[in-house]
């Protein structure tokens, strides 16, 4: 059973993601995590500000349960299924990250510089996290889906809109990492 505590290789994780999508399809639902962000807006009362948020959030209860499950899964995986799991990154990437100021690269699961306890007291870190989140939320709804809805679900169904969206995801990601990171960090 030791393998469960080790990082899971891609050829285990990929098929398990397909299994998640298959389970949802057989339950009569579609795989799409970013829809929950819209539901959360509606639950916070955004329905009074524009029609986009006027719907009965209870119809999305199943997806909110998936979201709550994801939180639970993170808790279980971190506390009971891992022993200080640290991604084994490419050495060149670690060197690059060190030079950008990410000393935690190769030592932690996520960068301490962004997700450590110091994050709450650094204006720059808070700004980075808010802007990053904002773009994810805005972009996912504008594009009509995120990694699960477009890159997995939509592409599995060979939908052209999803291919355009995934190309967009990569254009955006490459611009951020290659052009903007040197300016930000």
């Amino acid at each position: 059973m030791d393998w469960i505590l080790e990082p899971w290789p891609w050829y285990v994780a990929g098929p398990l993601i397909t299994l998640t999508m298959a389970l949802l399809l057989f339950l009569g639902k579609n795989f799409g995590m970013s829809s929950n962000l819209r539901t959360l807006c509606t639950m916070c009362g955004a329905g009074s500000t524009c029609d986009f948020f006027c719907f009965d959030w209870r119809s999305q209860k199943w997806n909110l349960l998936i979201m709550v499950g994801a939180v639970l899964g993170g808790f279980i995986a971190f506390n009971f299924l891992s022993v200080n799991q640290v991604p084994q990154l490419n050495d060149e990437v670690i060197t690059q990250l060190h030079s950008l100021g990410f000393d935690s690269a190769g030592k932690t699961y996520v960068p301490t510089e962004l997700f450590g306890d110091g994050a709450f007291t650094s204006v720059k870190t808070i700004a980075i996290l808010i802007i990053g989140g904002f773009l994810v939320g805005f972009g996912a709804r504008y594009a009509g889906g995120c990694t699960s809805g477009h890159a997995i679900s939509g592409l599995s169904n060979l939908q052209l809109p999803s291919l355009i969206a995934v190309v967009g995801f990569f254009v955006g990601g490459l611009i951020m990492v290659h052009l903007l990171f040197p300016l930000i960090f």
Binding site: P7, W8, G14, P15, T18, M21, L25, L27, G28, M33, L37, C41, A46, C50, F53, W62, G69, A70, V71, L72, G73, G74, F75, I76, A77, S82, P87, L89, N90, V93, Y109, L114, F120, I128, I131, G132, G137, F138, G139, R141, Y142, A143, C146, T147, I152, S153, L155, S156, P161, S162, I164, A165, F169, V171, G172, G173, L174, V177, H178, L180
Partner: protein, 137 residues
């Protein structure tokens, strides 16, 4: 009963995201540097099996457990919304290092600054709703 099933599927998904490191900011950075096969392997293998699954569902006209035909709804025809929306999403994905699933996984794992990202994502979704009609779709 149904509720518990969804909760269990979500929990399973969350564990997979964490254990595969798809929820790690570092893995997203590495992917956009093209320095590791890991993330491409995850998405690629999920996709190959996903295509086979959907083809099987279509050819055999499989039904879900309530007896309705399984389908993934077609998306509206457009270029600009998918490209522009996709680029904005990609910028955020690389900066925050988390997409809308892993955000919640990281919250459960106890990396609390991710709550700031989740707050930003909810705000971004809300602002999209407000200015939606002014954007090219």
């Amino acid at each position: 009963m149904r509720n518990i099933v969804f909760l269990v599927v979500g929990t399973f998904f969350g564990i997979v995201m964490f254990k595969s490191e798809a929820a790690s900011w570092f893995r997203i950075y590495e992917m956009f540097q093209f320095k590791s096969f890991h993330m491409y392997g995850i998405i690629g293998s999920a996709l190959v099996l996903g295509v086979l699954l959907i083809q099987l569902i279509k050819r055999k006209r499989l039904k879900d457990m309530s007896g309705n035909p399984i389908m993934i709804p077609p998306k509206d025809r457009s270029f600009s919304r998918y490209m522009f929306g996709g680029i904005l999403f990609g910028l955020g994905w690389a900066l925050a290092g988390a997409c809308p699933g892993p955000m919640f996984v990281l919250a459960g794992a106890g990396f609390y600054p991710i709550l700031i990202v989740i707050g930003g994502a909810i705000a971004g979704t809300w602002v999209y709703g407000l200015i939606k009609n002014k954007l090219p779709h």
